[in-house]
Amino acid sequence: MKDLLEKMQNGDIKSLAKLITYLENHPEDRFVENLPSKGAKVIGFTGSPGAGKSTLVNAVISQLRRENRTVGVIAIDPTSPFTGGSFLGDRIRMKTHFLDDGVFIRSMGSGTSLGGLNESVFDVIKLMDAFGFDYILIETVGAGQSEVDIVYVSDIVVLILSPGMGDDIQFLKSGIMEIGDIYVINKSDLDGADFYKMRLESMLSLSNVKKPIVKTIATSGVGVEELIFNIKKLLSKFHNNGEIRKRKERRLKKHAESILIKRIQKSLEKISEFDKLSNVISKVINDICKNN
């Protein structure tokens, strides 16, 4: 373990990969807390299934590599709540980078606890940050309300839409759309992209924060430079106005919450006698205090 950490900090990919597995299997081990942050920028990419998230992440990696930046990717696909298994297929779109030592791609199942995100993603980000990637890109599928969780792990959220998915506009009303700091209309080579952009602009004009909208064609890379330009601009704005710090605090709070909830569930399971609610609660609190 100590050996792995040391190797990881000296840039060994295999040790990084093994430590990620360890974290996934031991979420209660807090060793990552002692690792120094190297200031990675954490960007979340989310949107409906098939919107082109992986293809866009692939194109973003290409551009960042041209700028000599190293990139860690966490690609999250849904875990089946029935079997616990997952089909992790985002890599299919990222083949161009498989042999590049400046790119590390890790696929993860979404897990079944915390909605759209695997709980260990918090720690995996810390680990990748300590490893020293300049950018950490996280892809998650936007399947429902739980998707807001991507907000808690990234510095900036890019929401990816594509024309012809009329339902996306429905998302706007449900609040999911609000999680985007930057909107991407991908597949803008398809019919209806301009019309879609107009609709999006008019929806967003109701809100008082002005958010960038970028049109991309992920398959050819069109618009990706503009997207990265907007990401950087927003990152520096967030640095200056304290938003990044606020988000890091929010991340910590959410992580604490998820650990505490699990802890409470564990204590609740130990209780055999359910008589009075107040008794149950004090038993849980006692158990937590005793075992911490």
Partner: protein
């Protein structure tokens, strides 16, 4: 102690069909495993790098092109160079019995011909996994 089996399913070679590979991948998912699926035309170098980054427990190759006698030794060699030869490799596809024997001598752990029941594949993979774990 590990709670989930991670399997890489890759499709080396130049043929363009991955239906079979996908069927196996989905069966493994339905058996509760995490399947990393990388799609068509993977080179041994790509497979090895992926296996390292994803820290998989097993590697499955789907080969229909008849190139198994070419691809498998290359992959096994490269795995050795990268110090990951302890990861069991299994092959699915059209492999003549003599070749299958030869592949096993080389170090391929299991060869599944066409028509192998999915339940057999799942069971074998669980077995291979528990062998390396212990």
């Amino acid at each position: 102690m590990k709670n989930k089996i991670r399997v890489l399913i890759a499709k080396p070679g130049l043929d363009g069909h991955d239906r079979g590979a996908k069927v196996v991948a989905k069966a493994l998912r339905d058996a509760g495993m995490e399947v990393i699926y990388t799609g068509l035309r993977q080179t041994p170098e790509q497979i090895v790098k992926t296996a390292i980054q994803e820290d998989v427990d097993l590697i499955g190759l789907s080969i229909l092109s008849g190139a198994h006698m070419n691809i498998c030794p290359k992959l096994l060699e490269l795995m050795k160079e990268n110090d990951i030869e302890n990861i069991p490799v299994f092959v699915g596809g059209i492999v003549p019995p003599d070749d299958a024997e030869e592949l096993k001598r080389m170090g391929i752990k299991e060869v599944f011909g066409p028509g192998t029941p999915l339940s057999t594949i799942v069971e074998k993979i669980r077995q291979l996994f528990s062998e390396v774990e212990s």
